[in-house]
Amino acid sequence: MNKRKLYPWYFAGAAAFLFFLLCFVPGILGIAYSFTDWNNFSKEINFVGLANYKAVFQGNSEYLKYIGNTILFTVVTTIMKTLFGLALALLLTQNFIRFKNFHRMIIFSPQVMSYLVAGLVFRSMLHPTTGFLNNFLRSLGLNGLAKNWLTDLTMVFPTVMTVDTWKGMGYIMVVVIAGLLSVSPEYYEAASMDGASFFQKFWSITLPLLKPVLVNITVLNVTYGLRVFDMIYSLTNGGPGNATGVINTAVYKEFSKGNLAMGTTLSSVLFFVVLALLYFIIKSMEHKEVEV
């Protein structure tokens, strides 16, 4: 049977065309425009070489701060979501926990709301004078703990990252639970017979067998973290000042100022970073090296 005739490539044509036109072309075009002075104020577009990249990387530009924030956000939220997700998954697969499925559903539920709505919910919860959290702390007599969560320069970034973890950890938990359930219980039975403790079983059975899942989660969290926009835009819009600005909020800022070349340059920087990681990302999605 002729495979090429039976499975004609043009069946994939529509998907490839849409993706090419609206995702790939803008990426390439964006890189091309990052070497120009494209903006909303003049019709002419001139080639300026690496000037935009120099503006980003030279001296102590605000753009470097955005890139640093993006990396910090990515690293911290990846670690927090993985730790919480893993711990919750381990806890909520134990037989002695009552209403396991109910807990799982509750903890997963923020996942279905948009980042924007989650951001708005917490903007009201964390309001310094009328917000629920500060009211609650004051009612316990803990006035000292009531902070300006989203306006205090030192508090704001940890707050944003915590809210993001609140929303994202349930997803990670569900993925890990699926991984845990695919581990054959016989391993644990054998280990129990040999007198292994909970932590020994965790280190020697659970963790090695979860490795592909954990790699996957890390990839998910890192690619999300690098591209984060909605959550930060709705919680702080990058403020106060530029304390919580990340690459994608900066792109939007430059875009709305009409500073299109700078917007596309920042976007391209992000593109190159992810492109450098792409091989590992795709490999981890297929993870042929370990088969659970």
Binding site: G13, P26, Y33, G131, N135, D230
Partner: protein
Amino acid sequence: MRKTGKIIGRILGNVVAMLISLIVIIPLVVLFLNSFKTSGEANRMTLSLPKEWMFENYQTVIEQGKLLSSFFNGLLYAVFSVLIVVIVVSAAAFVISRNPKGINRFLYYFIISGIALPINNVALMKVLQALHLVNTQIGIILLYAAINIPLSLFLAYGFIGTIPREIDEAAVIDGCKPSQLFLRVIAPLLRPIVSTLFVLDFMSVWNDFTMPLYYLNNSRKWPMTLAVYNFFGAFEYSWNLVAADIILTLAPVLLVFIIGQKYIVGGVSAGSVKG
């Protein structure tokens, strides 16, 4: 001694589980209660029940927030873009998964690279302008279809691999052409993955905020997310109305989530565990 330790551990485990569930759910409960309070009562955000249940908050919000039109906009964008995704992705996944060589292999990796690579929204504006799609509903639908293709293709590709090839062979012996093979034989077998894609992509489109922010500057074309964001800006000090608005935005996805729960969890784990 060991036994008491075990019991304490079990109680502790249950307490921790309950505490975390509470931390996750409390913001949503407060929001829900607030949506029924009077403006003054809502400003002292607490967990207490409303003294008087103000159902009219919802009516006010629907009228003032132009929620009906943005609700239907959101529905339009989600349903049509998901339909496009499901159709083009199942066809693509079918041929790529059956014959993953040469150009098909290239197309597969080319498309799934989009799972990770960021969209350049600034340059995308230029492309949409060239195609006369800025500020149009058809433009936003095509855009949503395009950005959801990569992950959907990845999931569908994995699923089609589980359908035995012998089915194809039998169909060919019976005289099926490629299009008949796909439409009559394979497509009906795709129901589980199509449901997963439908739920996941619907939620992703409904919840998206970036695309209308960049490409729709006409408030009559806004979906729910952008409408609620704008409403929040205008009514920041009427927490009761803001809460009602947020609850109304959440309702459709919650509904889809409850109906399609098993597909979501199935899709989430298939995407990351089986690969």
